[in-house]
Amino acid sequence: MQTLLEGIAARGGGWIELRYQARRAKQLVVRNGQVEESSSAELVGVGVRAFADGAFGFASTTDLTRAGIERSVEIARSTAAAAAAAKRTRIERLADVDLARGEVPLPTSDPLDAHSLEEKLGLVTRIDDLVRSSSALVVSSEVSYAEMIDEKVIVTSDGASVVVHDSKPAIRILAIAGRDGKRTRALESLGVTGGWADLLSVKSPEDAAVAAVRLAVDLLDAPPAPGGPFQVILDPELVGVLAHEAIGHTVEADFVLGGAVTADKLDKRVASDLVTLCDNGTSVYAPHAVGELAVDDEGVPNRRTAIIENGFLRAYLHNRETAAHFGVVPRGNARAYTYRDEPVIRMTNTYVEPGETPLQEMLGTMKDGYFLKGFGPSGQADSNAEFMFGVREAWRVRNGKRTELVRGATISGNAFDTLMSVDAVGDEFEWEHGAGFCGNKGQLAKVDGGGPYLRCTVNVGGEQEGGRGQR
């Protein structure tokens, strides 16, 4: 396939990018002891992006013959011409960069294919049994396993030619507890870039199952979270979510050009000087982050981007188009989910670098606040950096001690205000290792977030007790 694509790219006629992708995915779902799904999917095709007259056109095909791919090249070129006719600001050029050549190997020594479906189903069934047997209050369980194995060949007419192998398995564990008509839920996830042994190395599925059951049961008796502005400690998972959702999206250069709040903040202070926030396709500090990416879908090798350095906004995330616009070198953040999708600016692993304060020291000096662990069930962030995230596990903190669990807590505010309020950054580091995807610009992407524990001030959403207008 690489030779075929190189031959087509060398035929001239203007810049093109050819991306072959073969994805094999498997999904096993066990709910309440019953196998609800055992499925496999294959998605194979070539996506062609053409650049002509300052505009992009894109076409995809499942016809993998030379004639079929060349027909898609012609369609991509004609749609680029149609787009160029309506485009207001033509793209002048794509940024020059050393493009990838060669092969990126499978990121594991224990490939998923070396393990049978029976073995995987056995694990899922065993964990589902464990969830249901861990408490009489569990009314429903769901454990799922999903794997995604990709092979890509990325060739551009200006020099990229690389074969990329990737492998991303994940396990989700959901426990639902119930009593007297009340239902509570807790979700634990394990996701990695890597193989079977890598998946099981980041966290024990058994421990995760027990933790999910304990939380779901404890939430049955938890009172509602009192709302208002509070000093809080965010755990590494919430720090990663904050870094990704509330900061990361606002520094995607296409959002910046579209009027994101970061548009005029480059080299300005946006956070406490304790905060350095990065995006990096390499797993630093801890292995197997879900968003590992060696080469992006434009054929650009991924490198670390320091978005915020010691409190100052230093960089945006780019593709080759926006990098040329801003006069910088792209660092490999253009990603496409399937062969049917064009590369768009996406994050990889987004995190806050660790600091020096031990968690116990942070906790010990808090008078009245919250210790917040984990994200969920949902949340949202805006281009003006306003965010609202659900919190999986919220504990009140009084006089330096973690006290009672509360339910229904959310955190909200402006992400940059939140980072400005940071007064302590922990000395530990963890990835979230989530099982889900980031959805953006109509596409999905496997990403990760992480960091140390971080102390800051946010608005905690909960119950409002009475007040004006009560009727």
Partner: protein, 444 residues
């Protein structure tokens, strides 16, 4: 690929799976021919063209089931083998059944022949109109993202039980995310969309004007007020806060899983008597209209909640068998997924007063256009930020507010509905009114 060829492909897949050892089999195929244009940062970003045929095969070995899909027609044999192999390693479940065949009537208006002539250039033209209409409405508003998609889709399903159905549909979907910027002031974003099945009915102006109105209104937003009381939800907020929870509870699969509070189901009083919810898979022109569901069972209109009381749950073949009730034709999904359960076109029946009259009747409260937050469909708890919200004071709309959160429990507020508007809006496949709730916690 024409619909008849697609049905033939499904029949071949069923026969192949049976020849490989499946006792029963089903195949669902979808062929998509689409063009789209994307806007980013207020300018056309890319124009796209896509053609793909995908097929998914369910193989039954006894009451064990496996599923495999592919988008390579020459990979069909391998997919059939994989489905049978997956079935063999899966445990038996007595409810793994195929539906019996039933007559499927074609639906007028599902496909517009003019859609066959719709080109990438046409999609570019409509995408450009999104920007031009925004500028005509107010130049302070920027289209951050928008898409215009035109799709012609053929679907076919066949099974060894005798199901054989196919249809062709056209759909034009357009959406935009807009923000307003005036000097240093940046609004929250607003999301709007439109959809139609006919080329002649494409209307990008209406969602553009609504997005501009909401983005501009939040530009002047000030800190709100904390109170516990009445909140008037606009249709998009009704969808965000209430509809998801209601649908989760009405999903028979969730009932079987022990996740639904409405497990006892039919007959249960769950909402104010003013609340009636209908699902209509054959609604003329509906976004989710189709002749049959993912398993080939014909769609029909179905009341789900009547005057606050549950009268039906959403069922597919599995859940209907497991719960011993009738299949309501709500099997959902595509060629790459096993059948799930989902609604089609949803309609909350209208009330008697207009939303303007409902505002006039409110002494103090909050109008919420959009909600950004958590809704837990199991506990019913919701908590999050309101968007494009305005205070209501003395029967009039007051100032816009920001940084305001609402919290409550969906099950409780459903019983505390104190008004449903006569005017409704289409939120994708949901036709929803304004709904007034009482005793909601609002935190500024």
């Amino acid at each position: 690929m024409a619909s008849a060829e697609l049905l033939d492909l499904c029949r071949r897949a069923v026969a192949r799976a049976k020849s490989l050892g499946a006792d029963e089999a089903e195949a669902f195929a979808r062929a998509v021919d689409s063009v789209s244009s994307t806007i980013e940062k207020h300018d056309l970003q890319i124009s796209k063209s896509q053609k793909e045929t995908a097929i998914g095969v369910r193989a039954f070995v006894g009451r064990r089931v496996g599923f495999a899909s592919t988008n390579r027609i020459d990979g069909l044999d391998a997919a059939c083998k994989e489905a049978v192999a997956l079935a063999r390693i899966s445990p038996e479940d007595p409810s793994n059944v195929l539906p019996e065949p039933a007559d499927v009537e074609s639906i007028d208006g599902l496909f517009d022949p003019a859609a066959s002539e719709f080109s990438a250039t046409s999609a570019v033209r409509h995408a450009a109109e999104l920007i031009e209409e925004t500028e005509r409405t107010d130049r302070r508003v920027i289209v951050n993202d928008a898409t215009f998609d035109a799709t012609v889709e053929d679907e076919a399903v066949a099974s060894s039980a005798g199901v054989a159905a196919f249809q062709r549909g056209s759909l034009f979907l357009y959406s935009l995310v807009a923000t307003a910027r005036d000097g240093d002031r940046v609004s929250s974003f607003d999301i709007q969309f439109g959809a139609t099945r006919r080329v002649a009915d494409i209307d990008v102006a209406t969602p553009v004007r609504k997005a501009c109105e909401n983005a501009l209104s939040s530009l002047d937003a000030e800190r709100g007020e904390s109170f516990r009381g009445a909140v008037l939800l606009a249709p998009a907020a009704v969808s965000d806060i209430l509809v998801g929870t209601v649908l989760f509870q009405l999903n028979a699969r969730n009932s079987l899983r022990g996740r639904s509070r409405w497990t006892s189901g039919v007959g249960k009083s769950v909402a104010s008597s003013s609340f009636t919810l209908v699902d209509d898979g054959v609604l003329p022109g509906g976004v989710a209209t189709s002749a049959f569901d993912r398993e080939g069972v014909p769609h029909r209109p179905l009341s789900l909640i009547e005057e606050g009381r549950v009268v039906a749950m959403l069922q597919n073949a599995y859940s209907a068998h497991a719960s011993g009730t009738a299949n309501t034709a709500h099997a959902s999904g595509g060629a790459h997924s096993v059948p799930g359960i989902a609604p089609t076109n949803l309609l909350v029946l209208p009330g008697e007063c207009s939303s303007d009259e409902m505002v006039t009747d409110m002494r103090f409260g909050l109008l919420v256009q959009r909600f950004s937050g958590n809704v837990d469909p199991i506990s019913g708890d919701f908590s999050g930020a309101v968007k494009a919200a305005r205070l209501i004071q003395g029967g009039k709309l007051g100032r816009s507010v920001s940084g305001t959160m609402i919290a409550g429990n969906a099950f409780e507020v459903l019983r505390n509905i104190s008004g449903i508007s006569s005017n409704r809006e289409l939120i994708y496949a949901q036709t929803l009114p304004f709904i007034r709730l009482e005793d909601v916690s609002v935190t500024a």
